[in-house]
Amino acid sequence: MIIPRVPVQHRRLLPDRRLSGPTPWVIAILMMLTLLAAAAGVGLARSANAIGDAIAGRITVQIVTANPVTRAEQAAALRREAAAQPYVRVARNVEQNELLATLGQWLGSADGDDPVLKSLPLPALVDIDLVGGDRAGQLARLDALVDQVAPGARVIPHAEWLGPVAQLIRSLAWVAGGLVLLMILASGAVVIMTARAALGTHYATIEMLHLIGATDRQIARLFQRRIAIDTAYGIALGTAVAAAILLLIGWQWSDVTAGLAATASLGPGGWALLLALPLLAIALAALTARQTLLAALKKIL
């Protein structure tokens, strides 16, 4: 039982006032930070996975042959030949207009109809998605195919340039996980200090209870109950504040649909984890308090 059942008359053995003073507030702050860090960790991990999935099998072949007619022919031939390969899921030519529109965003003409822009010697691009499996072998075969159909073309696996970003995001997710762990440890330390302080404050009562025949378990249950309730108040408060912050961020995030930001969401598993954390925290606090109290009581005859 997380909060032990203690008869009402026994509860009165401890004074009515809160045992722990600032403990609920400290626990509330730690719980809020824990939940925010956990949410960040889950969101970042899901982003990293989404990016990883998206880039893992994506290849772009860049054909830079000087003659535009030959370049277009090579691109079409490569798309056709690549699409016929069993290890290729999809192959498509990137249209010139699409390239111009992309470049236009960077070079100052969003419509991509700038004459200067049009005069640029743009390469022909072929996007190829590989099927899953032996990536290295598939890449080697694709290299050979490209050499054959479009000599001099450059094969660019997306994982090569977006992979470090995904790795960075994954590292940040681990850092967030580490922070969650540290804050759980800090919360445990707060509970231990609270339990020890409570024993110190009520030493005379405890000694008296011992001398009239109270068992360590009876005494520990009294304190465990009080500490668990104090901690539960703090956890509830911290959870409420964290939930408000997360809902606010989620509401603002809902308008973001582009780029990496669009991949960041908690998902049902993430929300389940966030809901489970406060309950786990209460259970952990009660268990920590109990063990601390029993260990301390054993030192008293």
Partner: protein, 255 residues
């Protein structure tokens, strides 16, 4: 003192409420020494027996070691050396988890009362029974009766801080005896009460003694000692026990 079935139910739930073995001493100290920290022993070579159903006075000058001796008797302190047997069992070999059961067989009146400050007089008196698991429906009778006996019915809900020294002492005594202990240890129990109340309290101890409780009272009050017939006296001098009445012969006379 009796309240019929409630009292019987109270007695039923007191754990380990069995008498010591026939012919055995209630308490045996064999060459016991006690020291606090690195200093010399405060009690030296203490050997005595307390027989079931007997009444003892422990006397001695301040600092002679009376309270230290009583602390070992009510299991607040283990001896530094020697053997202490309580209810026939060696405390040195006793696992810690069995101590509460033994403590419930001992009533203690502390010199400084040690009432729990945030509890009422009624709740302080009821404490040993509650700890022993006596149900609330069985508490009211014995606790009310005890409050009447010590003359504090009207102050049953008062906190210790609002009681006089004498009233606090009466509550402490009521708490010590309410569970009908087999051994009653009292450290200067009449130090803060008027002579009339001292006599009444001593009468309570005597009544309990007649019902079979072994009583040991530490006191300076010579008049008190003379009021109990057949009481035996133990005297502590500079940490050693003398035996002025010859009642504490060791090795004990075993039947």
């Amino acid at each position: 003192m009796r309240t019929g079935s409630a009292r019987a139910r109270v007695a039923d739930v007191m754990t380990d409420a069995r008498p010591p073995r026939a012919g055995g001493a209630m308490v045996e100290f064999d060459n016991v020494g006690l020291r606090y920290g690195p200093d010399g022993e405060v009690l030296r070579d203490i050997s005595f027996n307390l027989q079931p159903g007997s009444f003892y006075f422990l006397t001695g000058a301040s600092g002679a070691g009376k309270t230290s001796l009583l602390r070992m008797l009510y299991l607040a302190q283990r001896p530094s050396r020697g053997i202490v047997r309580l209810f026939g069992e060696d405390l040195g070999a006793m696992p810690r988890h069995r101590l509460p059961g033994f403590r419930r067989r001992i009533g203690v009146v502390f010199q400084d009362f040690r009432l729990i400050p945030h509890l009422s007089a009624r709740d302080n008196i009821a404490l040993p029974l509650r700890i022993a698991g006596v149900g609330e429906e069985d508490l009211a009778g014995p606790v009310g009766e005890m409050l009447s006996w010590i003359g504090l019915d009207a102050r049953a809900e008062a906190r210790p801080a609002t009681l006089s020294g004498g009233e606090q002492q009466r509550v402490a005594i009521a708490r010590a005896v309410i569970a009908r202990p087999q051994l009653l240890v009292a450290d200067e129990p009449t130090g803060n009460v008027d002579p009339d109340m001292a006599m009444r309290l001593l009468g309570l101890f005597e009544a309990l003694n007649r019902l079979g409780t072994t009583v040991i009272v530490a006191t300076h009050d010579i008049h008190l000692i003379s009021r109990i017939d057949n009481a035996q006296m133990m005297r502590l001098e500079k940490g050693r026990l003398s035996d002025p009445t010859g009642a504490l012969r060791y090795p004990p006379n075993r039947a």
